[in-house]
Amino acid sequence: MLKVLDSAVPVACWSCAVAHNDATLFCPHCSKIQPPPGGDYFSVFGLVPHLDLDLSELEHEFHRLSRKLHPDRFARAADNEKQWSLADTALLNDAYRTLREPIHRTEYLLKLHGAAIGEEHSGKDRKDPSRVPADLLEEVFELNMQLEEMRAARKMGETDAELQASLEQAKRKFDGLMDEVDHDLRAQWKAWDEGDAGARAAAQKAMVALLDRRRYLNNLVRDVTETLGA
């Protein structure tokens, strides 16, 4: 199977032998389904990589392609077409799942451009003080103490209304900070989508930092929610 990132590379259709570009799911000449194309998730939808997507358009295209590609349409087809329908639909679903979700989409695009993102980069140990965003250092320290206290109280079967209220307040605060991060991310989307190479590089760096911060906040909120709900 040809795996090329350059979607301009022509390949011959398995059925009619007419050459077409390899990013196509169907042969433009004979309309037969093709093996999974090279290229990224954006190209599956015929898009150039960008971040500010029209979600309803994306959904519409997802449905249109699903109707044509889905294994249900190939239940009685030849084995090779069945295989490709399965592989192509898996690719379509994976692409849609990634692109429709703003954070996943951003992470995916940044990874395409060589950024290191994810748990392995940000570090799994949230207690590691060097991972804590500097402006949150004090609050996180305080919060972790309260979480410990809360868990200890729970174990003893006690309830501490004051502590509960304080944790709930902390959760609201961190939720608010997450919203700010999301807002800032969107601003960077525009910068990336519309900017030149220099602006893109700057936006990319800013987004990597924002995603790190977001992941950190997300883990905190999850900890608090779990402890409150336990």
């Binding site: 449905h63 699903s66 109707r67 889905h70 294994p71 249900d72 349409r73 239940a75 009685r76 399965l86 592989a87 639909t89 898996a90 690719l91 679903n93 994976d94 849609y96 799942r97």
Partner: protein, 646 residues
Amino acid sequence: MAEGRVVGIDLGTTNSLVAYMQGEAPVVIPGVDGSNLVPSVVALDPMPAGGGRPTVTVGNSARKSLIETPERVIYSVKRLMGRGLQEVQSELKLFPFRLADDVEVGEVPRIQLGELRFTPSEISAYILRQLKRNAERFFSEPVTQAVITVPAYFNDAQRQATKDAGRMAGLEVLRLVNEPTAAALAYGLDRAKVGTIAVYDLGGGTFDISILKLRDGIFEVQSTNGDTHLGGDDIDNLLLAIALDEIHAEHGVDLRKHPSAVQGLRKDAIDAKIRLSTEAVARFDIELPNGDRYQREIPREVFEQLIEPVLERTAGPCKQALADAGLTPEQIDEVVLVGGSTRIPAVRKLVDDLFHLAARGKKPHIELNPDEVVALGAAVQADILAGSSKSTEEMLLLDVTPLSLGIEALGGTVARIIQRNSTIPASATEHFTTGVDGQTNVAIHVVQGERELAADCRSLARFDLKGIPPMSAGLPRIEVRFLIDADGILKVSAREQRSGKAARIEVKPTYGLTDEQVESMILDSFDHAEDDFAKRLLIEARNEAETILSAVERAPQSPAWQQLRGEEQGAITAARDRLAQIKQGEDAAAIRDATLALDQATRRFAELMMDAAVTTAIRGKTMENAGEEMGDAVTAPHPMAQAEFK
């Protein structure tokens, strides 16, 4: 090969059905007895005197054996599909499953029926073969392709076991469809084009909740959740346990030691449950072996208190499904009720509370028969797959995987690679390397579930990647592609990237049969011979005629015969003579019609006999005694009134 019909099959815990698309509407195909429901009961007839394999009977005709020869009958086998020995142990306390005792942990459990043993897939294959035959009888042509429904929350092993059963029954399973999604399809044919619907499916043994978005013929599942061990059976067991305990405490009789008496009592419990859906009170009135009577009233309030914990277990999955779909109850436009257990008023009340229906002036959808709706939806999906029909060409089902897929990582934690509720087919690619110089194989443990530790998840399979070229540790780069197909079943492929060599994968399913094992369990081969199909139909029709004729022959010796009115006796005799004559001919359809006519004529007689059999069993008489008292006529083909389980 000519493209035959594709049928839709609901392989249920309690009942199974087969349906097809008749023009623009799905229709259930009745069995030879005229009933749409084939009870999911399989019985082994007595060993033939001359040796050889005993006949296997399915459905209503197998049901009578529940009381006569419980050790040769199995029901609710769906609870065992795709499950390991240890998981099955908990079921044994409440169901009279007899497992072969020499099966080792890691092997597929075998069920002992009389002198033979069967895997759960084989038992299901007998049910599927019966449905296949019903469809072939109906169309007078071979049926080889089917869509089979499974609970949405079935895991990989349970799905594979179902697919294996299809293959054993001589059916190419074109697709496994999730039951709630099938129900949505059945309703979707003539409903509004846009909206968000929830399908609440409480069947005999499983519970599913699915949330779907409908748009221009596309049924896109947003989330699904459930419990593969929660259903009407659990409610029956609660009532049964009360009766058994009270009988033991008040009358000093331990009926648990008498399997046939327990079966009789279970039937009473089911009757009581069904009555309580429409009446305020149900009664047990049972004669015990020591001559005492066990009498007990069960008011509906008491029943509802009793079953509340069972019903409450459906609330959690519903809330989780809503959360996963990112929806509030108010955002659900319609709720569809599926499964016989949704007839219980307390269930409807719970659903109403969960989705705030009454408060919004809405009612759940119950227009389609909850016992049939899944099969009807399967027929719609079958029609979509056949791809030849105008009425379904715009429809497409996009389903999800119910459970996350993960790999066991260092320290026994799970690294998730495909999240639950991902639209299927879905895939993930992972890279592995070696830890020791010259290492040529890598083991990967794949699990399914939402827990943090692999030990708490469901083990799917261990993959052994072999044939890695010997290199320094950490140098090989093995790309493994995990793909969940449209049936929700995992497929794996691997490649060593530096050498470009496809790594050989040895898959050892944690639970499940190998390909060779499935092959060896394919039911008798004559089902595949399409050439002599007409001949087979004739032979089958004659066999059916033979069975009912020999039962009717002995009928006058039965006490139940005397309870019939003169004209009833006359009608039976006339139908009998007609069948005996037509049977000599070559017209399979005419023989079947005459058989059906005789069956109809004997229905009341069969009911009378069944009542007698139940009473006898409860009294704790031995089978030999019962046989003498009733004559051998208890082998009538449809001894239990079919309406009872409706």
